[in-house]
Symmetry: D2
Subunit: 375 residues, 4 copies
């Protein structure tokens, strides 16, 4: 039995290097790019364990669940950590970061998540980068949920370590991921005796064995199929044009926000200011007394493929996340999500109010709102 | 760029022959099997153009749209055609076929569709085969919509030409298809001077160049990827077990029929007698005044992946087909189809009656009915 | 078990139409393009059965085995056939075609193969097209072995029916194929009462149900995976650039011809004039007494993936074909073919001469010749 | 553009768990199996960093390059390391291990490579396991090069941590890998404060979040395509039967060893005792003065797909490795490797001896030897 996942010719080093080059082009970066053979948590962990050490102080901007993970890793490494906690319904501002840096001049590492799929926020990285650069700290950005959905310019913004994954707006695989590494970052990691070496976590292994070796031999066997999938999603993005791809995500976000309001069933945007809303996903707050989990369960029972998730953790009962990335960043998918949501909120609200099934949410108005917002 | 659809090793003759053997095993047939390199219409056309000729008389059982196509081909070939038209809401009986054969002793070819996805009927082939064999005519069966969904035993049933495609209950590709050919059928076709030869339509080419040549060289280049997909779906069926696969389809049909009744929104089974209902798809009649096209449009707007089709042709406005084959032959898919249907009928009925959105169909009752019918 | 050949979303009509448009762009044609769901023999047969009829006279240029197939089909259709047989070691000239047309003013159909992979020739279609157009006959071209390997401009050259397949220089699938159809060709076929209609062979079905219907519904289910593979190979060609692809094939042909001469083991070009040599494959004549089949068997025993074939039919014992298309149109593949050939000719020659293994052919000289010819 | 690597439905937790179960069946183990989302180096590193700590003493059996890597990791973890170095041309014996354990009663961890593809040895794990169990140490086995090629029974042999990858004899992907973990091993790791936690390297994360959580949610996003490829190669092995697969590898090894001797060109088995020879690959020593790198270069120039590698490190100039695993564990592939080798040794020897190309190695004798050894 021939199988298309088993019988492909092996991936050559030159082929691997070509994919790497296309990732660099996507990020418009002149820095080294390392494609790591695992989910984006792998390079994120590698960056922190490489960049942090006893004696260093990190500003960890916590705008969602990943910020907490970063804080744990930073502490594991023996770094002092200043957590900048931001309410989940808003972005962090450059001023907030600036104040935190001013209060802790010893900060030499800043970790930030660009867009938070979980909360629906996106943070102003360009402005924050300016502040971080002025301070002189190393700047790590988790751009997994932003790449492909909105502009991402690590070099222009002064990002030293920019980590991406392809599984969201790029419409690609989760099993490989990439990080751009500035010269400053390489120096910092190389000077860190505790930085991972001879390890699956190690960025330095890739530098020494792959990049400095002229890209002749990989430090270990690649995840060939995930690499080919990454290449294929890059080719798709190149064919559509990166600007068109990000514009499509922006439209999907605007249309979801506008359409949800037009439904008239009491769903409110969770992110207060539309400028803070991430193009990758829109979060909505359910009406008082209407359980978000129940709404999502009803919507998924009617449409199992609807890209809806009940908000995690403390927000599980009051927040709904509408994903609109990759294949779901289309007008049809947005309309379909709104229809499923509108019907489900109606059902749950009716049960709550004792009125049986409530009147149908106004799908016609939502469709008009989507049309207008799509532009 | 390596691509899994472009960079596979070529399909060898031995590999092709192995797939052929697995199709024969699926059909439990000792006859020759020819895998033709096109949709099932290709072997169906090849069978009729090979088997029919001026001077022959064909009994063409018309239980749906394909019967009309077969009649056209038969007349193209210069055969006299006796059409046995059966109301679309019922199966044909062996007695009806027997009467037609008795009235036209000159009949030497019988064409029949096993299961009609379009009308939701399945015909009693075992009993009909007995009658046809007694009469002595060549018996062609279109089993595209039955294979994998219900028992199919061409040898035991005396079928001379049994045509299958993989795109329905087999969950496989549409681009290749197969036909089992009895010795009697080969003789008839070989004796027909007008039978396609040196042609893409030709069964004889496959006999002479491939089978009689010891399966060394194919008459033309194969559709490699469709062949590999056919092999993969055969492997899946073998792993689950053919009986388990057909049982799953039977459950899906019973559950859809029971669930639709339990919804209480006025949907009636289109096929009167449950014994005539095809395991591949269930057809339902909408309540008076409720346009089936409109219902399906509403249901698909809410759930674009729902396996629902408005009945074609004259029945477009009153019949809905619920497909439940392949990946849709699961309890979850059946429940999801019923939910979409129930909501959509409610909406359209309400609009028709002037009452706004009607009360929700009773999904809870439908779910209980599904559970009971699934067994 | 999820399988990449079974679990893809179905191909939409819009997607099918997009692939069609890319084929038209590849051919630089404004004519209709029909993608048929079978090997290129299917549209070739469809063209001839559609274009030829009793009362018509066809000039059939026979430069290889396919010409004989075309002649058979033409006679099947009741057309009078003028065969223009050309020695297999040379191309046909426009003058030869012109003379044949002048001798038979009644000719209304001309069939020609562009490049012959089997003999290694390519014919001057642009010049022949001028002559055919001046005469007024319908012009059918089999461009399966030329598309992607050399310039192919059906509109500019006056080709009415240009049939392509993707399995040679396009590096794509064999299971679907395409034909461009001029307005004149559509008229001729529509006026032919014997042209295939309601048939897998029918071009008219595609015109009436697909093209004239606004490309909403296909006449039958497509071979989805072969279509996706066709699209993928088009994307690859677009990315490399069609001119670069044809240049690569031209280089491979020149290098093979030059390298074989440099080997010094007695292999001679089968095609006398280098201008007639096809970019898709190079044919070589073995030294007197050296059996081509034996040489190829030895070469394949040493290197089972070498793209070598012993010449078919009457030429089996004296001709070797070196394929250099698709993935084999690279300098490495050409060198590898030459190495396998040189060693095998040495072995067989030695045995023939009684001298045991002959001296090694001069691979170093061949490599230099390849380098020079590659440019 | 639909792409088979991008448009598959996502991998569910249940699907992931099913693959895990099939790996456990392959290993005939009742222990927990963790499928890690990276090359086999990932679980190997995870095992050592989880199992070793300051205060522990490890016996590290060094039979090839991976043993050196394990030693480095063990020392990184602060463990005392007793290296048991074995000459690369022989297996380690249970007696050698027993002596080392007796000399160092404090040893609480033993690391061993089952089969060494690099040297062509395989070690007697069953006997060694008995000795290790008697001593009471934790036993880690690297079975990447043995799984699928020879019997592998971690439970019966007392292996606590058995790491496999699919890229060799399983004919599968390299990008995911697996480890079986005994209850004793889980206890040891859980008790190690320095064991990786909340880390890509962590086995404990999989235990706590995945296994103990009832296999509901993965600790991070999986490499879906590599998982599907793993499942597909397991299905292939199950269809052929594991015993048949290992028998095929044993035959390939015996045939390569016998065929190389029969060639008569001076290649000697690198592994002295045939009982120590690994079924995954055969290593050969070149005749004095004949550079192995040069031989392999010649062989690959003639047959770029030949599975030959010049021995690494200190052995680069005198050792050749013939791989015969996965798709190369066939008689045809073995014969093809021998042909390429025989010709290349002849060429290089001739040049060395000044005699020009030497006489051809005796391929006919080699073929007879292969036939006899294949059985």
């Amino acid at each position: 039995m021939t199988h298309p996942l088993l019988d492909l010719p092996p991936l050559t080093a030159a082929h691997f290097a070509a994919v790497e080059g296309r990732v660099a082009a996507l990020l418009d970066t002149e820095q080294d790019v390392v494609i790591m053979q695992g989910e984006a948590l792998l390079p994120l962990e590698g960056c922190i364990r490489g960049g942090a050490r006893p004696g260093s102080t990190a500003l960890n901007v916590v705008t969602g669940p990943y910020g907490q993970t970063f804080g744990n890793w930073l502490r594991d490494c023996g770094a002092a950590v200043v957590d900048l906690d931001v309410p989940f319904h808003a972005a962090v501002s450059a001023e907030q970061v600036e104040r935190a840096l001013a209060a802790h001049p010893e900060i030499d590492f800043v970790s930030l998540v660009h867009a938070e799929a979980a909360t629906g926020n996106t943070n102003p990285v360009a402005e924050i980068g300016e502040v971080v650069r002025a301070h002189g700290a190393l700047f790590m950005l988790d751009a997994v949920a932003s790449v492909g959905a909105e502009p991402l310019l690590p070099d222009a913004w002064g990002v030293d370590l920019c980590v991406i994954g392809a599984q969201k707006a790029m419409g690609g695989p989760a099993g490989v991921s990439a990080v751009s590494v500035s010269g400053r970052a390489w120096e910092r990691i190389a000077a860190n005796p505790a930085a991972p070496r001879r390890s699956y976590l190690s960025l330095l292994d890739w530098k020494e064995r792959w990049i400095d070796g002229g890209r002749k031999a990989l430090p270990h066997a690649p995840a060939q199929l995930e690499m080919l999938a990454l290449e294929a999603c890059l080719a798709r993005i190149e064919a559509e044009g990166l600007e068109a791809v990000t514009a499509r995500h922006a439209s999907a976000a605007a249309a979801t926000r506008a359409g949800a309001a037009a439904l008239g069933c009491g769903l409110e945007p969770y992110v207060h200011d539309a400028r803070d809303a991430a193009p990758v996903a829109t979060t909505l707050r359910t009406p008082a007394g209407v359980d978000a989990c129940e709404v999502v369960a009803h919507a998924l029972a009617a449409d199992p493929s609807a890209p809806l998730i009940a908000g995690g953790g403390a927000l599980a009962k009051e927040m709904i996340r509408v994903n609109h990335y990759g294949a779901d960043a289309t007008r049809e998918a947005v309309e379909s999500s709104l229809a499923a949501l509108g019907a489900a909120v109606g059902t749950v609200s009716g049960r709550v109010s004792g009125a049986g099934s409530a009147g149908a949410a106004d799908m016609e108005a939502a469709r008009r709102a989507v049309a207008k917002a799509w532009g």
